[in-house]
């Protein structure tokens, strides 16, 4: 097929454009394609697919530069390396967050403006956090009750906190032994 434009060279760039549901086809040789600027248009179209991952790639690699460069450890669970994050912008598995925790933390803070979770805690994998959060909530409640002079309620809350804390200490000791 010859180039639509110069009708001399073999067409090697094939462009299909859909504008207002009208399909336009163009077949150009490399010279004419360069001149027509159609390729730039294609480049622009790629830019449109710019996603959050592209930003993250940049942020990951920035952190790499800040950290000690040469050592590129891999996640023991999925084998992902830190430099792979900076290329793909996505994490490999849940264990990666432990493996690369120290390096990911500043990144997470940059994204969310915070790095501590205070929302829902799963019963199974949440460990002792659920109890810790409950104690925190009860302590706030206790302060409120005392300030409102609801002493009977406050005594109950105090006992509940004491029981939870006792259980927490025992559980932690058990975990340490294991």
């Amino acid at each position: 097929m010859l180039c639509d434009n110069c009708q001399k060279n073999q067409a090697c760039v094939h462009i299909t454009k859909i504008i207002n549901n009208q399909k336009l086809e163009k077949h150009l040789c490399s010279e004419c394609a360069k001149q027509s600027g159609e390729m730039n248009l294609a480049g622009l179209a790629f830019d449109n697919s710019f996603s959050v991952q592209d930003f993250l790639k940049g942020m990951f690699s920035q952190v790499v530069e800040e950290a000690e460069p040469a050592d590129d450890m891999a996640c023991p669970n999925c084998g992902m390396t830190y430099s792979e994050f900076s290329r793909g912008g996505k994490i490999g598995c849940t264990a990666c967050y432990t493996t690369f925790g120290a390096r990911l933390e500043p990144l997470v803070r940059r994204i969310h403006g915070a790095s501590a979770h205070i929302g829902k805690v799963p019963h199974r994998s949440g460990g002792l956090l659920e109890v810790k959060l409950k104690i925190k909530r009860l302590k706030q409640e206790l302060t409120r009750q005392v300030s409102c002079e609801e002493y009977e309620m406050a005594a109950k809350t105090r006992d509940e906190i004491r029981d939870l804390e006792k259980g927490l200490v025992e559980e932690t000791a058990k975990e340490l032994k294991e």
Partner: protein, 360 residues
């Protein structure tokens, strides 16, 4: 209900209910991102691992049905044709990404499509709950319940500091994305949308078009959702979004009142012209249809067009999408001009026979 009727049906059952502020808020949606502990995320897992995830999560179907009292089904994406998958996208049941990479992806969906669980999308699980009107709390409670049922069976990736662990760090923490779909024609006509978008962005919210990321705001339909997922409780995220949405709703209402007060005749003319085009056009593009539908819906909300059929707009919003029309036509490759003709036919027949009801 089978997946065939879900694809073929004109409107998902959950969408028919009115809900709060339903003259402006079309629907509310909450999604939770969850991952199985220790198993590579979908972007890093091979086919065998992904199939294993589907197998394992699929076993929860009977429990989900028992816990919620509504039937659930498991659908493997590979079993659907690309067309069927894209109809599900148009109905907001699955994400474009799940439709695009169908291999080793699956969907667990509730009978009336209000709850859908995407398997092996960006994360192992994406629990999504939808409700008509402004009902973020209801949608969240429903998602929370599904999460509890799934969590009773599986260890989800979680750590004390970062919360629920996700493939993309932007979803860490609660893994919660709450969004509300709004119809804002009066703010569009009075050119106040930019201000609203800027203000919402400053409060950590994202404003997008009808079909999420990268889609334009066709038909004056916008989605507002939270951006940050870590460092706030689920309730705080929902409350923040709720308070912004109620304010946007108020702005839209006062813009509508202002339009009626200042230029009722011009507005009424605009609405009826749009109705005329929809009622009699023989060919109409998707963009034009959305723009006209938006004005007709505004006319219905303001009592310019007198009908109780406000849900017609929601129905036609789905029925005029390209993939749905393709599905209706039964042919495999509908050319754009044929599709525009079919779209006009579908709208005409939907509006026909209602003339007496509309035109007083």
């Amino acid at each position: 209900m089978s997946i065939e009727t879900m694809v073929g049906g004109q409107i998902s059952p959950w969408m028919t209910g009115g809900g709060r502020e339903s003259d402006i808020v079309l629907s509310s949606r909450v999604r939770l991102a969850r991952n199985l502990d220790g198993i590579p995320f979908p972007n890093r897992a091979d086919t065998i691992v992904l199939q294993g995830v589907i197998q394992e999560l699929g076993e929860a179907v009977p429990e989900l049905s028992a816990a919620t009292g509504k039937p659930y089904i498991l659908v493997k994406m590979g079993k659907l044709t690309p067309l069927e998958r894209y109809v599900l996208v148009e109905k907001h049941i699955i994400s474009p990404s799940l439709a695009q990479h169908a291999e080793s992806r699956a969907l667990i969906v509730e009978e009336d499509a209000a709850v859908s669980i995407m398997i092996n999308e960006e994360d192992h699980l994406r629990i999504q709950c939808m409700a008509p009107g402004l009902a973020l709390t209801e949608a969240f409670q429903s998602a929370d319940k599904i999460d509890d049922v799934m969590e009773a069976r599986h260890n989800f990736g979680f750590n004390e500091q970062m919360g629920y662990l996700t493939a993309c760090p932007t979803n860490l923490g609660t893994g919660l994305r709450a969004s509300v779909m709004l119809h804002l024609p009066a703010l569009g006509i009075t050119r106040q949308l930019n201000r609203i978008v800027n203000a919402a962005t400053q409060l950590g919210l994202a404003v997008r078009g009808l079909y999420g990321e990268g889609s334009e705001a066709a038909g004056n339909v916008f989605q507002i959702s939270n951006q940050l997922t870590l460092g706030h409780t689920e309730q705080e995220i929902i409350d923040n979004l709720y308070s912004v949405v109620t304010q946007v709703v108020e702005h839209e209402r006062s813009a509508r009142c202002m339009l009626m007060r200042e230029s009722e005749n011009a507005l009424s003319d605009k609405v009826w012209r749009s109705y005329g085009i929809l009622r009699y056009a023989r060919s109409i593009s998707g963009q034009e249809a959305l723009a006209m539908l938006s004005e007709v819906r505004l006319g219905i909300d303001l009592g310019i067009i007198d009908t109780k059929q406000a849900s017609l707009f929601n129905e036609l919003l789905i029925m005029t999408r390209p993939n749905y029309l393709q599905k209706v036509s039964g042919s495999n490759l509908l050319a754009a001009d044929a599709r525009d003709r079919l779209r006009a036919d579908v709208i005409r027949s939907k509006l026909a026979g209602r003339d007496e009801e509309y035109v007083k």
